[in-house]
């Protein structure tokens, strides 16, 4: 059987074996609930505290600013609903972009029905947020600005630090950043950010655990009530083994980050180089995108058909993102100004530090073959 060539790392990553070992050790050895008063509980609590401390240190935030959740979707929901529920009198205006993940966009659609005004800030041709437009749209009724650091389909990296500076001019506006596609891939600076979401399984951790960083100068309401657990902002018995695994996965992901980044960058240029020589392939990701994500379009070949054709050869990529599999055009690409020929035919290739040059070679070779077969 042919070896799998997995090029869908932005959908999810394979768990690191050391992380899985930690998960099983903790599950077997630390049986106490961290909130129990007895010795076993205390042992678990100590381990949980140490894990959270490590996460806080790695991200340069305080320990009480780390909230563990079930994943990035919950973190995004908690950030958004937590803010608007906490500050119902600060105004009913929210600013976001059309480059967001569905777990942000769907919240916005819901809130619109509930009477909130949702403003989508303009996106420049290069994919970056139009900062002038953002300044124009911000006003004293803006309760929340929610912007993803790295777009999941095309990979555009926003300057969230700069955006944060602009939002800070309105002291009652809270700035949330969805960092799901950024953590573990690039260096993170949370200086100007109030709320920051991410998920463990995007950096070789396990599915089912996410983080919301909440700076201690702002407050949010919980969306899952039930008293103090790991934090006051999210109830439920702390998933100790997942929390420890997340802490470990984050540490491992950030180890040699620059070296891993450079490797992916060189793979990205190799891939671009090879794809540019194939007729009918259009590269949509530009120089503002992180090298881990390369979005392409093959006008005339239905993305899903190509996905399954590659699947026959044990190659795995994605159409749009794994979380938006319906047949419509890509909202991200439409927002970036592409017409149906591009936005209706896009594919996402996502790379990892685990990806090899051979995998890229084989992928391009087979893609070329498939295009010739499928394009009439």
């Amino acid at each position: 059987m042919k070896k799998n060539i997995y090029l869908d790392y932005s959908a999810t990553t394979p768990a690191n074996k050391d992380v899985v070992d930690t998960f099983s050790k903790v599950s077997l050895d630390y049986i106490g609930n961290p909130n129990s008063l007895h010795k076993l509980g205390l042992e678990s609590k100590k381990l949980m505290d140490a894990s959270i401390k490590q996460i806080a240190n790695l991200l340069n935030v305080k320990e009480n600013e780390v909230i563990l959740t079930s994943g990035a979707s919950e973190s995004n929901n908690l950030a958004i609903f937590g803010t608007i529920n906490r500050y119902p009198n600060r105004g009913k205006h929210i600013i976001t972009t059309k480059l967001e993940h569905s777990s942000v966009l769907e919240c916005m659609t819901y809130l619109e029905k509930k009477g909130y005004t949702i403003d989508y800030v303009n996106i420049l041709e290069n994919g970056l947020v139009d900062l002038e437009d953002l300044e124009k749209k911000l006003n004293k009724d803006t309760v929340l600005v929610s912007i993803c650091q790295v777009n999941s389909e095309v990979g555009i990296l926003q300057n969230v630090n700069k955006i944060g500076e602009i939002v800070k001019k309105y002291p009652t506006t809270i700035f949330h950043v969805d960092g799901t596609q950024a953590v573990g891939k690039i260096n993170i600076d949370l200086k100007n950010i109030d709320l920051y979401s991410f998920s463990s399984h995007k950096f070789y951790g396990l599915k089912g655990c996410g983080v919301l960083i909440k700076k201690d100068n702002i407050e949010i309401d919980p969306i899952i009530h039930g008293g103090k657990s790991q934090s006051n902002y999210r109830s439920g018995t702390p998933a100790l083994a997942l929390i420890v695994s997340t802490s470990k996965a984050l540490r491992l992901a950030l180890t040699d980050l620059d070296k891993k980044y450079d490797h992916v960058k060189s793979l990205n240029s190799l891939l671009r180089d090879k794809l540019s020589k194939i007729d009918g392939v259009i590269i949509n990701s530009n120089s503002f995108c992180i090298p881990h994500i390369l979005n392409i379009s093959i006008p005339g070949v239905k993305p899903e058909t190509m996905l399954h054709a590659l699947e026959e050869e044990n190659i795995y990529i994605s159409t749009k993102t794994a979380c938006s599999k319906d047949n419509s055009d890509s909202l991200t690409l439409t927002t970036l100004g592409y017409n149906h020929d591009i936005s209706g035919y896009s594919l996402r290739i996502s790379l990892s530090y685990l990806t090899t040059v051979e995998e890229i070679d084989t992928f391009v070779e087979i893609l070329d073959k498939k295009i010739k077969e499928l394009k009439f």
Binding site: L37, L42, K46, A50, K248, R251
Partner: protein, 394 residues
Amino acid sequence: MNRVVLIKYGELTTKKGNRKFFINTLYNNIKKKMSGLDVSISRDISRMYIEFNDNDLDTVLEKLNLVFGIHTYQVAYKIDSDIELIKETARTIMHEKTGTFKVATKRSDKKFPIESIEFSRQIGGVVLKDNSNLSVDVHNPNTTLDIEILERYTYLYTDKYYGLGGYPLGVQSKGMLMLSGGIDSPVAGFLALKRGVKLEAVYFEAIPHTSLEARKKVIDLTKKLCKYSDSMKLHIVPFTKIQEAIYKECNPEYCITIMRRMMYRIMEKLAKRNKGLVIINGESIGQVASQTLTSMSVINSVTNMPVIRPVACLDKLEIIDIAKKIDTYDISILPFEDCCTIFVPKHPVINPNLGECLLNETMFDYETLIDETVDNVLTLNITSEEDKEFENLL
């Protein structure tokens, strides 16, 4: 350009004969604190000098803020005593500044060709020409640019930072700190450390009435104090039997008074065993029933050993301020029972009578219990180092 931290000594300048010992102690303390960093430290009778890698500046200053015996420090540019070079450096330093300024030159090298006042004037002119946002005010300037011209080097600096003050840790003998989980005793410990006192901490524990979480809290507090003293012994006293005996045998109103008397007796014994000369605690006059002057006097009468109460005359809010500064407050307010909060009588006596205490203490054989307790003390060596306990999992 090379930068160097200039350290001015604290109160130790007043210590004539011991001055060298104080400076050497400070030198060793700073050296220990900086271990792992690529720095070179030198000293003379008036100052200490730390040369460092430019990238390490923040770390060096962070660590200096944990060392007692430093009055102030400055980050100075250290350059050759060359007139043009001094001018250029002065320009660089003052380039971003705004408001008023003056230049103050000190010339210990009298061979330097220009006199101090004239040189200050010249440098002032150079700075003014470069930066139009500045104007001169020799009486009340926003910024003073100090220039110290020595034979080989010249130092230039503007900002002065305050260190922790106090005496270098270790210039005094040892004290035994009564460390509960509360807000006051860690602050008392910090203030004692500040006067150069070496500390060992003592925690009274009454398992199962108190929990391991309460113990962890005290360990965490000790760790915070260790930031200033590298390591500290923590003696954990198994106090359950004595406490139970008190509550079984004694007048409830006197329970707290007698409990404190028992603690002092144990403290004295532990101090003698560990070469401690004084007892230090977080008592603050009038804060609770056992801290009225009458209570203090009756409790204190069990020992001749000096009892130092660094926060005796501070208001609670003043104590809290310090607790927040030394980062112990958040730990102290965690809600675990300690042995002073269990078995609290409804009406503890505010003005206890010594005779009543002595009478109550005849009700049980406390001396045997105390000896037994002291023999079973558990001693931990605490350091500020991160817990490596979970290293294999994390």
